[in-house]
């Protein structure tokens, strides 16, 4: 039951995230479409940059953005994490992986 309800919400997000919904929902509390889990993320802890929304949309499906923002990893280390997340069902479009890794290595590197 829990799982199926969650899956439904996730399916909506997975479909929506590549279209850029993932974050715009959270920034538009008046839209009425934002799942409650996203409303807590109005203060996005990820560094602002061109691909902040891309990373936000892909990652917030499964976990809070604080999980990412507190990390400092090399690009190679981030690749291990992102590739694992892809096996866990992270939605990807062609080119997303490189964009995400570039963002993470630039802002949350070591």
């Amino acid at each position: 039951m829990w799982r199926s309800r969650l899956s439904l919400a996730l399916a909506a997000l997975i479909v929506g995230a590549p279209l850029g919904w993932g974050w715009s929902w959270a920034e538009s509390p008046g839209s009425g479409a934002a799942p409650s889990t996203l409303s807590a993320q109005v203060d996005n802890p990820l560094p602002r940059d061109r691909d902040q929304q891309l990373v936000t949309g892909r990652c917030i499906i499964c976990h809070s953005l604080e999980m990412i923002a507190q990390q400092r990893q090399t690009r190679a280390e981030w690749a291990v994490i992102v590739d694992r997340m892809i096996t866990y069902g992270m939605p990807m479009q062609p080119g997303d992986r490189e964009q995400i890794l570039t963002y993470l290595a630039k802002h949350l590197g070591q």
Binding site: A40, P45, S64, E66, Q70, Y88
Partner: protein
């Protein structure tokens, strides 16, 4: 002699000591996440899944109050109605069981004071940074856990001779169909150890949901992830669980062959100074340094303290009760004289382990037990 060795260790590991004092990943300039209801004093490391750290100043009591006790979840789980709770015991057994909470309540109840610590506690002090939640010192706490011996439940199920491992599963749910269930197994010898229990109460109250209620495992002396929350299934198996939370996570390199890893079991030998706190301003005169030490499967045999950044060491007095799997209080009277001071505490245990002055990076940031140091000013 011992002091000389220690002094050299400090010189060698000066980089690690700097990391120890310098500390954690810089905090975000953003608004911190909202506190979690019932856990308002805790630091929110992650709101989803919920991961909460106890500030060191709130670890001052031998028993950590439940509202101050850390929370570590790999996945969140739905609340379970206690009246609907069911625990299944199956696998390599002759008598599969289905137990309700009342069945557990009717069995012999035991209460033990036991310390839980996340394997990644202190991860933020590794340099370079290791992946994972950037815990500082407060993913540790001690509670009075009440419940039934796991051994008694297993005996009712009559394990077959082939049953060499217990595979517990909780009611937490991975967020996608592809993500692996959070399952970690235990060898049968630890499951049958008389302190290993299915807990249904914490600090005299029904086990709260955030701590795995209505029922969870408590695997004493082992890394926190062994103590599976929201326990709904115990499967007896003829081998260790093969999933990624057993075979990839919660593993560290072997000392003799770092290319090989081993599955973490016992906690390290470790101590924390809880008073004075790092950065404290202390009045001149008679003072008391206090802290806790624990050692997983070992027993704490002593805590040495240094008032001068590790040059000279003196034994602290162990205080309070000595429970088999709980941290041990310690204290050391000292006279505060003007100036800046660096205090350190170093525990040793019955397994011959002594806290190190530094340690090589653990790839996943586990097992941080480098000597705790605090800097204070007397004025």
């Amino acid at each position: 002699m011992d002091q000389d060795i220690t002094r050299r260790a400090f010189v060698i590991h000066v980089g690690a000591a700097a990391a120890l004092l310098g500390g954690a990943v810089p905090s975000s300039a953003q608004t911190p996440p909202a506190p979690v209801a019932g856990k308002e004093k805790l630091i929110v490391r992650s709101p989803r899944p919920i991961n909460l750290e106890t500030p060191l100043r709130d670890l001052s009591a031998e028993i950590t109050p439940t509202d101050l006790f850390f929370v570590r979840n790999n996945y969140d789980g739905p609340e379970i109605d206690a009246s609907q709770y069911v625990l299944k015991v199956d696998g390599e057994v002759d008598n599969p069981l289905t137990l309700r909470l009342d069945d557990l309540r009717r069995m012999e109840q035991i209460t033990h004071t036991i310390t839980l610590e996340c394997a990644g506690n202190g991860r933020s002090f590794y340099s370079p940074k290791a992946p994972g939640l950037q815990w500082e010192n407060g993913a540790v706490g001690t509670a009075a856990w009440k419940g039934v011996r796991l051994a008694e439940v297993l005996r009712l199920a009559r394990p077959r001779p082939s049953a060499s491992h217990v595979v517990p599963d909780g009611n937490d749910a991975p967020p996608t169909a592809q993500a692996p269930d959070f399952i970690r197994s235990h060898p049968i010898w630890k499951a049958m150890e008389p302190h290993t229990m299915i807990a249904i109460e914490m600090n005299g109250r029904p086990l709260p949901h955030l701590h795995g209620g209505p029922a969870r495992l408590i695997v004493p002396g082992w890394i926190g992830s062994a103590s599976i929350k929201w326990l709904v299934q115990l499967t007896l198996a003829d081998k260790e669980w093969g999933g990624p939370f057993m075979q990839r996570s919660y593993r560290s390199p072997r000392v003799e062959d770092p290319q090989q890893t081993y599955s973490l079991q016992s906690l390290e030998c470790k101590s924390l100074i809880v008073s004075p706190l790092d950065g404290a301003r202390v009045a001149p005169g008679a003072q008391m340094m206090r802290g806790y030490a624990w050692a997983g499967e070992g027993s704490v045999t002593g805590v040495d303290v240094s008032l001068d950044g590790g040059k000279a060491w003196a034994p602290a007095a162990l205080s309070g009760p000595a429970h088999r799997y709980a941290w041990r209080g310690w204290e050391f009277p000292w006279t505060a004289v003007s100036g800046a001071h660096t205090f350190m505490a170093r525990a040793s245990d019955s397994l011959g382990r002594v806290q190190p002055g530094g340690k090589p990076r653990d790839p996943q940031g586990y097992r941080w037990n480098v000597i705790h140091a605090v800097r204070i000013d007397v004025a």
